[in-house]
């Protein structure tokens, strides 16, 4: 078997260009939302808003300025499926459509997926959604097809500043540690890694270097697996998910995403008062 492969996304060098979003759509032939005819979100330079079944990469923009502008940062981060070692989506999928590949990545097989939405509700990061063109759940495959051909995933190849780095997880972790130490030596004390070790869902095969609390980026500090949650956990087993009916699950997911979005909006409005 090959080594586990994944992404290390160094947000400290992300320039928010969105090349990853387009390169992903171009390679995976994903459509634009509403044919491209959408409206201005008003949230900084983010108009693709969230990850979805047709949006497998999503760049977030966070503006942090003090009222007198004596301090100020504009944080950017390219979000993507985390390819969790303990993957909730895989755990709940009733059809076996979601597989762990030889690269230790998590892939939804479109031709097996029946669109039941269990995975959508289960994902603690809000990564998965239904692709309206196929009516199946979709997300980043880490360019499984390109990897098998020995090619770099489309987003990582396009990324101009190497914010998105692709490679064997073991090597990426070393690189991430070195970069963290470099930043901390430069006085960037808020720099931290997220998902680089087993503390989050056994490790994320797409992990991050962040410049602030995970919540600032809309990432949960302590995401949980459905099987580890108290009451609903058993109900969220694969079979249970089907039985429960999917509206409830979708509702759960929606609640969580709404909460995250509300927090982010609030943060944005408060941004001028926030010390960067």
């Amino acid at each position: 078997m090959p080594e586990p492969m994944g992404f290390f996304t160094d947000t400290s060098v992300c320039i928010g260009c969105k090349a990853c979003e387009v390169a992903c759509k171009a390679w995976n032939q994903l459509p634009a939302r509403n044919g491209g005819k959408v409206t201005l979100s008003g949230v900084s330079y983010d108009n693709t808003v969230a990850l979805s079944g047709i949006q497998w990469r999503h760049v977030k923009f966070i503006e942090q300025f003090s009222p007198d502008r004596s301090t100020g940062r504009w944080l950017m981060m390219s979000d993507v499926c985390k390819h969790c070692v303990q993957a909730a989506c895989l755990e709940v999928c009733p059809t076996g459509a979601i597989i762990r590949t030889e690269f230790d990545t998590v892939v939804i097989q479109s031709d097996v997926c029946n669109g039941c939405r269990a995975c959508i509700a289960a994902c603690p990061f809000g990564v998965i959604e239904i692709n309206p063109e196929t009516n199946t759940a979709m997300k980043c495959t880490l360019c499984y097809d390109r990897m098998q051909a020995g090619m770099v995933p489309a987003c990582a190849q396009a990324c101009p500043t190497q914010s998105i780095q692709f490679g064997p997880i073991s090597e990426l972790r070393q690189r991430a540690q070195a970069r963290l130490e470099q930043l901390q030596a430069q006085g960037v004390t808020q720099a931290r890694l997220y998902g680089h070790d087993e503390s989050i869902l056994g490790g994320l095969n797409s992990f991050y270097l962040l410049l602030d609390e995970p919540e600032v980026y809309g990432l949960p500090s302590n995401p949980q697996l459905p099987s580890q949650k108290a009451a609903p956990a058993s109900a969220l087993s694969a079979a249970g998910a089907v039985a429960l009916g999917l509206l409830g699950l979708a509702g759960l997911r929606k609640q969580r995403m709404d909460r995250l979005a509300a927090e982010e909006r609030e943060r944005r409005q408060q941004a001028p008062e926030t010390e960067g």
């Binding site: 969105k18 051909a149 190849q157 396009a158 692709f166 490679g167």
Partner: protein, 192 residues
């Protein structure tokens, strides 16, 4: 210059067993080990590859154009180019959609004077008509000598605009034809 796609190895995918990310998880009661292999058909597997250059800004990023059965199927950054090492910006990454796009025009449109609608016309007819118009306007407005006796051999009644997005070779023959005709209002985006 087309070459059949060769696999560009990003790293040695060794046969060593996975383990780094997996270790210590069994205690959680979750078996994450099974790895499934599903052969993926690479959609550029049998494509011809043509080195090209991004048509947007002036950085000059190298691109690779993949063609199957005469159709462009993919355009991405050329990892060999020392300018971009395979990277692209969102515009460059969208170059495929600049080519393969239902909004693209494929017929010549003509709007007669005072008309309210386009008409689709024949390419040859349109070329003949444009040549006639250029000649007519040039002949009606050509100036050999200014009132002060200075030779100018020009017309200032025809404007040629554009070029910064178009091959150097076009720029050469366009400015040559214009200057050959005495057309002096020649401009492109370099000033604007």
């Amino acid at each position: 210059m087309a070459v059949v796609l060769s696999r560009r190895r990003f790293l040695k995918v060794s046969g060593a067993a996975a383990g780094t990310a997996v270790g210590g998880l069994l205690g959680l009661g979750i078996d994450v080990r099974p790895k499934q292999v599903r052969a993926q058909q690479l959609r550029i597997q049998n494509a011809q590859v043509f080195p090209s250059v991004c048509p947007y800004c002036a950085v000059g990023c190298g691109t690779l154009v993949h063609v199957v059965d005469g159709q462009i199927v993919n355009i991405e950054g050329n990892p060999k180019s020392p300018i971009n090492m395979g990277n692209l910006c969102p515009k460059g990454a969208a170059t495929y959609q600049l080519h393969v796009n239902p909004n693209r025009l494929t017929k010549v449109l003509h709007r007669p004077p005072n008309a309210t609608q386009w008409e689709v016309v024949d390419l040859d007819w349109a070329m003949d008509r444009v040549a006639e118009l250029v000649k007519k306007t040039r002949d009606e407005t050509f100036v050999e000598t200014l009132p002060n006796g200075k030779r100018v051999m020009h017309t200032t009644a025809i404007f040629s605009l554009g070029g910064a997005t178009i091959d150097n070779e076009w720029n050469h023959i366009q400015q040559k034809l214009m200057r050959g005709l005495g057309i002096v209002r020649i401009e492109n985006q370099a000033r604007i």
